[in-house]
């Protein structure tokens, strides 16, 4: 049933050896394929064994699933756009997808826009307290951890500490906040993300609430997830026990602590944009916008920018062609088109070659709009984007401001 919780561990020897936290996720993905529930698995794998080059892979052979075992913290591939662009939104393919909370949110927003067929997906949620940009992570490992990035075999984020494990078995640990204050640590959007447990997926899997790093805590988040877990247990693919009340309490506490930290980062990030006077803000953004080289990267990466016939294209006659930097309308329209549904995935900011603080601004606006419209993007497919919807109830609201 939705809401059920399990402490799970794989029953597969090979998987137990290679995977972390008892290999439950890997076993579940493999079972999804074997049982014919899905045609393919979409997960992340280190390309040629390089942990700093995590790429999405589509797997159709159960034996290959194991190649995706183990968490990669220095990768944040654009899973939702991958699904939309390369798998035709799963229109005729059943896929089990591993998703971080922001991936799940992006998939839900694209589902609302009829770009992804959620019915064909099995969302295997992975709890997440942040990912790191690969290039910066490598520099950080060299300068802060004094280690060779190529020697790292695992990373972990826990209790605001970043730990790396090297191939000789040694572990090195640093305070995350200190690293982040020096410009390292997690991606900016991750620092301020409040969703650690992807309850909008079908199941949410994490390490919180387990001990000795050899089991996975699973929360069932939908009926689809519930059926799936039950079948996997019946087929003997994972062994489960009920979490103790202490374990459940631990999950809650760790989640709360991470949320609190995220809120502090939000305050800090947003203050950097709101502290300026109106004129300073205008100068700041005019300067930022004037650095744009109109590469369309932000638009192409954003899960909310789904239009086949984008108004910013030259042939739409709205933004004059052949001008760099583009007319101010270019960034202004991009931002205002997505601000009501931004899921803080950070993809736009990651891809921007000119490093405009796009996601910082857009997510800040989103938080304000979320308050006004009582709307949380990425959580519920039946909730429509607030700047693209109206309700019958509003007919009897006479004010000029929306008060919902």
């Amino acid at each position: 049933m939705k809401g059920d919780m399990y402490i799970a561990r794989s029953s597969d020897k090979e998987i137990l050896e290679k995977a972390e936290y008892g290999g439950a996720v890997t076993s579940l993905l493999k079972f999804a394929l074997e049982s014919g529930r899905v045609d393919a698995v979409l997960a992340i794998k280190a390309r040629d064994g390089n942990r700093y080059d995590g790429v999405p892979v589509l797997i159709t052979e159960p034996e290959e699933v194991i190649e995706t075992a183990g968490a990669l913290h220095c990768a944040s591939p654009n899973i939702s756009r991958f699904l939309k662009e390369y798998l035709d939104g799963a229109s005729d393919l059943k896929v089990a997808v591993t998703v971080k909370p922001c991936d799940a949110k992006a998939i839900i927003e694209l589902t609302k826009r009829i770009q992804i067929n959620l019915d064909n997906l099995l969302l295997i949620g992975l709890n997440c307290t942040g990912t790191l940009s690969p290039t910066k992570a490598k520099t950080m490992i060299k300068t802060e951890f004094e280690a060779d990035p190529a020697d790292v075999v695992a990373e972990d984020i826990e209790d605001n500490k970043l730990t790396i494990r090297l191939k000789d078995g040694t572990e090195k640990e640093k305070d995350l906040t200190e690293l982040e204050e020096r410009g390292y640590g997690r991606r900016e959007n991750c620092r301020r993300c409040e969703t650690n447990i992807p309850i909008m997926a079908d199941i949410a899997c994490g390490k919180w609430g387990t001990t000795d790093k050899n089991k996975t805590f699973i929360e069932v988040c939908s009926e689809k997830g519930s059926d799936f877990i039950k079948e996997a247990i019946e087929a003997g693919k994972i062994k489960v026990e009920q979490p103790s009340s202490d374990a459940i309490e631990t999950v809650r506490k760790k989640d709360e602590a991470a949320i609190e930290l995220a809120r502090q980062w939000q305050e800090k990030d947003f203050a950097s944009l709101t502290e300026m006077s109106g004129d300073e803000r205008f100068n700041y953004w005019s300067t930022q916008f004037s650095r744009c080289i109109k590469c369309y990267g932000c638009r192409d990466a954003c899960p909310i920018c789904y239009c086949k016939d984008c108004v910013l294209e030259a042939d739409r006659g709205f933004v004059p062609p052949g001008e760099v930097p583009p007319d101010t309308m270019f960034p202004m329209v991009r931002i205002t088109h997505v601000m009501d549904s931004c899921v803080n995935c950070g993809q736009c900011q990651d891809v921007c070659p000119m490093e405009l603080p796009l996601s910082r601004l857009i997510f800040m606006l989103n938080r304000e709009l979320a308050g006004i419209f009582k709307y949380e993007p990425g959580m519920d497919v039946s909730e429509l984007p607030p700047l693209r919807t109206v309700t019958d109830q509003e007919l009897s609201l006479s004010s000029v401001e929306v008060a919902l």
């Binding site: 944009l273 709101t274 300026m276 109106g278 004129d279 300073e280 803000r281 205008f282 100068n283 700041y284 953004w285 005019s286 108004v311 709205f318 007319d327 101010t328 309308m329 202004m332 329209v333 931002i335 205002t336 088109h337 601000m339 009501d340 601004l361 800040m364 606006l365 304000e368 709009l369 006004i372 419209f373 607030p386 700047l387 919807t389 109206v390 509003e394 007919l395 009897s396 609201l397 006479s398 000029v400 401001e401 929306v402």
Partner: protein, 141 residues
């Protein structure tokens, strides 16, 4: 120096506010000449692009005016306008244009005096705010 005379772009719905402005005219109600009215078929036609373009081209203020809720000829066009205007304000504030430079009003075809009042008070507000940042920048260059 001459007193600052703001340029205001008014997007007025054909069925109500535009007719209301006509009525104000034929009734010889005086109001400031600062508003350039653009007639739209419904306030629901006004999206973020029109509003932002007006600012980018030098409007010191933008006034969107439509039928009262429940009276829109297309049922809910004005409700869309309300959401968009409400939603655009945080953006205008964040990038330094200022949320008070954008106003939404409901004015029916029979509310000639309300057209005058609205234009008067909005012109006053914009005078208080001074020229839009876009225009100040343009004048500096």
């Amino acid at each position: 120096m001459d007193e600052f005379e703001p340029k205001i772009v008014g997007f007025f719905c054909n069925w109500c506010s535009y007719t209301g402005a006509d009525l104000a005219g034929t009734s010889r109600i005086k109001y400031p000449p600062n508003v350039r009215v653009i007639r739209v078929m419904c306030s629901g036609r006004v999206d973020e692009r029109l509003i932002l373009k007006a600012f980018a081209l030098g409007a010191d203020g933008v006034l969107v005016s439509g039928c009262h809720p429940g009276d829109c000829h297309y049922q809910k066009g004005n409700l869309s306008a309300r959401r968009r205007v409400t939603g655009l304000k945080p953006f205008l504030e964040a990038i330094g244009i200022g949320k008070d430079r954008l106003r939404l009003e409901w004015i029916s075809a029979s509310e000639g005096p309300k057209v005058a009042e609205t234009v008067k008070s909005f012109t006053q507000t914009i005078k208080g705010l001074g020229p839009s940042v876009f225009n100040r920048r343009r004048n500096e260059h």
